[in-house]
């Protein structure tokens, strides 16, 4: 573990295991996410020491302790803002944010939307378990209306956020959804996120066995085909065990159809376009929720757009070109100066 990675040509998941005991509850969905991250990181061609993991506070935010890279376990809600500073200070680093639905969308909501709008080159993994795990079971901004939790014994009266709609409303350039219960798809999405230039936001449905067990049961293996829609760029939107169902657009509203029935042909189906000029399609997809619709998973949107840090450093270069490399003595003497002898 102490071997420095520059000497290693090929990294493996093991290289990314830290010496800290993992302290999540047995059966927590966080384990699956950790495992996939450890699988993906070594494949990205980035040396271990160039990764930084930043988090806030929550069960999910313990994540950085368990990855043998640089890391900051921040304060509640501030992960995106702290990570912004890391990335702006050194754009060479691969900076990842591990956050929860409470950390990112409740107390941290503002930093979250501003990071997205600025398009700061961070990979943001939001572990959505629709509950506050670490503080033992209060409802979160993604908890369903009516749900009874520790702080809503009479049922929640709060309409939940749709995390992806929020992100799209905030000018996100990369938006995806993945499942802790589908490691393969999770890996794919993580790889795509890693390669995006600006902010890559991934919502991961994560099971909290203790305080919200089964929240995403409909997306688990046995029911997945009928209840989720796997998005692929340029492909028509098809789902179902027999891949018999699809999505068709009526004006700006999607509807579920069965291919071959009622005169619906493959060509009538909506075709996914990650890179559309405007994110309206991605927004529309984010509104499709179980049980009315299959919930889309995969990459909703991936638009090419300069990252914030690139613009920042281009401006530094521009300033140097126009004014020359900063000369301290010159700066101090600038303005009207006079001599006293």
């Amino acid at each position: 573990m102490s071997a420095s990675s520059v000497e290693l040509d090929v990294l493996t998941a093991k290289d990314f295991a830290s010496d800290q005991e993992v302290r999540w509850c047995p059966g927590c969905g966080d384990y699956s996410i950790l495992a996939q991250i450890k699988k993906v990181l070594p494949t990205l061609g980035i040396p271990k020491e160039k990764y930084v993991f930043v988090s806030g506070i929550g069960c999910s935010s313990r994540f950085p302790y368990y990855v043998e890279t640089y890391g900051i376990h921040g304060v509640h809600g501030r992960a995106c803002a702290i990570a912004t500073g890391v990335k702006l200070a050194n754009p060479e680093l691969s900076v990842w944010v591990a956050t929860g639905d409470g950390d990112a969308l409740s107390i941290g909501g503002n930093h979250f939307v501003h990071m997205l709008r600025k398009n700061i080159g961070l990979k943001v993994l939001m572990f959505n378990n629709r509950i506050y795990g670490l503080t033992k079971g209060q409802y979160s901004p993604t908890t369903e209306l009516g749900k009874r939790t520790k702080s809503t014994p009479w049922g929640s009266v709060d309409r939940p956020f749709n995390a992806l709609s929020v992100a799209i409303g905030a000018e996100a350039t990369f938006v995806a959804r993945a499942l802790d219960s589908d490691p393969k798809q999770l890996c794919e999405v993580l790889e795509r996120a890693a390669r995006h230039e600006g902010t890559a936001f991934v919502e991961i449905y994560q099971n909290c066995v203790v305080f919200n067990d089964g929240a995403f049961e409909y997306s688990h293996k046995s029911q997945r085909a009928d209840n989720t829609l796997y998005l692929e760029h340029g492909k028509p939107m098809i789902f179902g065990k027999e891949r018999e169902k699809g999505i068709r657009l009526i004006g700006t509203h999607p509807e579920v159809v069965t291919v071959g029935k009622g005169g619906v042909a493959m060509d009538d189906l909506l075709v996914h376009d990650e890179r559309a000029a405007e994110p309206t399609l991605a927004y529309l997809l984010s509104r499709m929720r179980h049980p009315e619709f299959p919930e889309p998973v995969g990459v909703f949107r991936c638009a090419e757009e300069k990252s914030y840090e690139r613009r920042v450093y281009e401006q530094v270069e521009e300033a140097k070109k126009r004014l020359g490399e900063g000369d301290l003595a010159g700066l101090l003497q600038s303005g009207e100066a006079w001599e006293i002898t």
């Binding site: 160039k50 803002a81 912004t84 501003h114 900063g326 101090l332």
Partner: protein
């Protein structure tokens, strides 16, 4: 028409003065800040010592003519060392009735009062709540009143430049400046240079301003209304190259200098707030110095980003004022726990809450020292004057890097906007700052992020360095290894270590200087922006032969290590502060001395006389 030949025939006598205080006052739109700045520049370049005090309304552009819309700029210029903008005005320029109404009380009896008589219309008199025109009655009898139709004369002077009437009228501040420059025998070159630099691209405006300035000067020269001119000789300042700096400019330059001397990028994360915004603005101009400025969505994001940037190896700083400091406290706690270097500038203003946002106060000291939950110590410094901000922000950076700690630097609204001449240091006078980054080679087997050096500082290990992968965070850490640790004894140890590290800085800062007798009846103790008034008051008292010493503090946590001894050497200690007694509280708690406060909370700096009077009272044995 008065002609030049007539004037030359009767030369006007020149009277020498040691120190003069003058104030330009007018509507927010009248350009008084500009006139004041240019006059103070001209005086500084001429060789006087100068101290200034701008005072403007909270409104961006208050309705013309109103009392609350008056903007003022005061300049104290002198043939000797001065340390405040002056208590009383020797001369007042009042551009309208509202300016006269709100400023007259500060003019000394017999003082010079220059008035734009064109502005004394019925409408303006009414807005200023004047029942009768003061120019008509006896109200101004005790002053040397000079009524000048400034508006008319300005329009006349610039009439050939092709400006609209509205544009032309805007030049009247330069006419007024011209008059005053003549009256106090100031050179016109500095304002003329400034005009050309600023308006070079719009020749008509350039010309109009030039003409207005010269017309004002000529007016003084030609019209016989002034019986005498004044001259203030050069001060004998240490030789060197000088420039004028406001406190906020000094902070910006000091940060750039510190980053350069440390060989680091500067990261400045901030959210605009009066009176700290200019630091962000000024720094954002200097990107060619590898300065990254980040205007965050709020103060919490600003300091959070600063923490991230510090972790990644920048010299990192944030700046704010009281309300923003409140918001930053939680994250400052994280910076204390993670022991990352950064400078946190707080430019104090009138509180509590939104308070008096454009006014000055010193009421955030206790918050800086103990405004976070938990035992959360950090060094707290304060600048004494505008130019002192340069050195103190440099010093804050030095301590931050050497001790791996966030450092709070306190300024205030008075220092931030006030200006004074600053001797530009040579590069050899700026100490090098030497951040030492951990490297895999030096740390032996496993990297220990909470191992400490002789100053109790932990290593700074930059992401990107192979072999030093480590995690920091807000949970209590195990000594040396830095792993999360809930052990009771470890928490005690770490709490004490954090405390000792900060206390240990006392050995690395100057002893508290005391001016005057080393022991005696009275010590006047102060900190930050009140330094100038304390110095002036005490020097005056000493000049009268009073047994009084004074000391003004830049280091508020930890205290200089001789402070206890100093305090015990005087019978009585007076602590003037622009708050209800915050240094007083810290000093009493620490040294159990029965110090007494002199507390002003009026959004304004102390007048020298307010402190002087109290000194006299105490020495006469009057209790407070």
């Amino acid at each position: 028409m008065v002609t030049k030949t007539q004037a030359v025939a009767q030369p006007i006598p020149i009277q020498e003065m040691e120190t003069v205080t003058i104030r330009f006052a007018g509507d927010s739109g009248d350009g008084m800040q500009l006139a004041g700045t240019q006059f103070s520049n001209a005086s500084a370049i001429f060789g006087n010592d100068v101290s200034t005090f701008p005072d403007f309304p909270a409104e961006i552009r208050a309705p013309a003519g109103t009392l609350f819309g008056v903007s003022g700029y005061q300049i104290n210029f002198s043939a000797r060392d001065i340390s405040t903008p002056g208590d009383r005005l020797d001369a007042l320029v009042a551009m309208n009735p509202a300016a006269l109404k709100t400023n007259l009380q500060d003019l000394v009896k017999g003082g010079i009062l220059i008035i734009n008589s064109d502005a004394f219309t019925d409408a303006n008199l009414k807005k200023a709540h004047y029942e009768n025109d003061p120019l008509e009655g006896e109200e101004l009898d005790g002053y040397q009143l000079f009524k000048i139709p400034i508006t008319k004369l300005t329009l006349e002077a610039v009439k050939d430049t092709g400006l609209t009437n509205k544009q032309a009228e805007r030049c009247k501040n330069l006419f007024a400046l011209g008059v005053v420059c003549w009256l106090f025998d100031r050179p016109l070159d500095p304002p003329l240079n400034w005009i050309h630099q600023k308006f070079g691209k719009t020749p008509a405006v350039d010309q109009a301003n030039t003409l207005a300035l010269k017309a004002g000067y000529a007016y003084g020269d030609i019209v016989e209304i002034f019986p005498v001119r004044y001259k203030v000789q050069k001060a004998s300042l240490p030789p060197g190259t000088y420039r004028r700096l406001t406190g906020n400019e000094a902070l910006s330059l000091g940060l750039v200098a510190a980053a350069r001397r440390a060989g680091l990028k500067l990261f400045y994360g901030s959210y605009p707030i009066t009176p700290a915004s200019e630091v962000l603005q000024e720094l954002s101009r200097h990107k060619n110095f590898d300065v990254i400025t980040f205007q965050a969505e709020d103060e919490i994001a600003a300091i959070s980003a600063v923490i991230g940037a510090s972790f990644a190896g920048c010299l990192s700083a944030t700046g704010t004022s009281g309300p923003g400091l409140d918001l930053k406290q939680e994250a400052i706690g994280l910076a204390v726990m993670t022991e990352l270097p950064m400078v946190i500038i707080n430019v104090q203003r009138g509180g509590p809450s939104t308070g008096l946002p454009t006014k000055t106060e010193q009421s955030d000291l206790l918050e800086a020292v103990c405004g976070r939950h938990g035992e959360c110590p950090l060094p707290v410094l304060a600048a004494l004057s505008p130019a002192d901000c340069f050195g103190m922000v440099f010093e804050a950076a030095r301590i931050a890097i050497k001790y791996m700690t966030p450092v709070v630097l306190l300024s205030d609204g008075y220092i931030a906007n006030g200006a004074e001449p600053w001797r530009i240091p040579g590069m050899d006078e700026l100490p090098g700052l030497h951040p030492t980054f951990a490297s895999a080679g030096t740390t032996g087997d496993g990297f220990q992020p909470y191992a400490r050096d002789e100053n109790l500082a932990r290593p700074w290990a930059l992401p990107g360095t192979p072999g030093l992968e480590h995690r920091v965070g807000g949970l209590e850490k195990k000594d040396i290894s830095g792993a999360v640790c809930y052990e009771p004894e470890n928490h005690q140890l770490m709490t004490e270590l954090r405390q000792k590290k900060v206390e240990g800085i006392a050995k690395d800062i100057p002893l508290q200087e005391v001016h005057g007798p080393a022991r005696g009846k009275l010590l006047v103790l102060g900190w930050g922006g009140t330094a100038g008034a304390i110095q002036s008051a005490c020097e005056a008292a000493q000049a009268k032969g009073h047994d009084v010493a004074w000391a003004t503090m830049r280091y508020l946590n930890p205290f200089p290590r001789n402070l206890g001894d100093v305090l015990k050497s005087y019978k009585k200690i007076l602590i003037p502060e622009l708050n209800a007694g915050q240094l007083l509280t810290l000093v009493r708690a620490r040294y159990l001395v029965d110090a007494e406060g002199l507390n002003k909370m009026q959004g304004r700096p102390f007048l020298i006389r307010e402190i002087g009077d109290r000194i006299e009272q105490i020495l006469r044995g009057v209790s407070s």
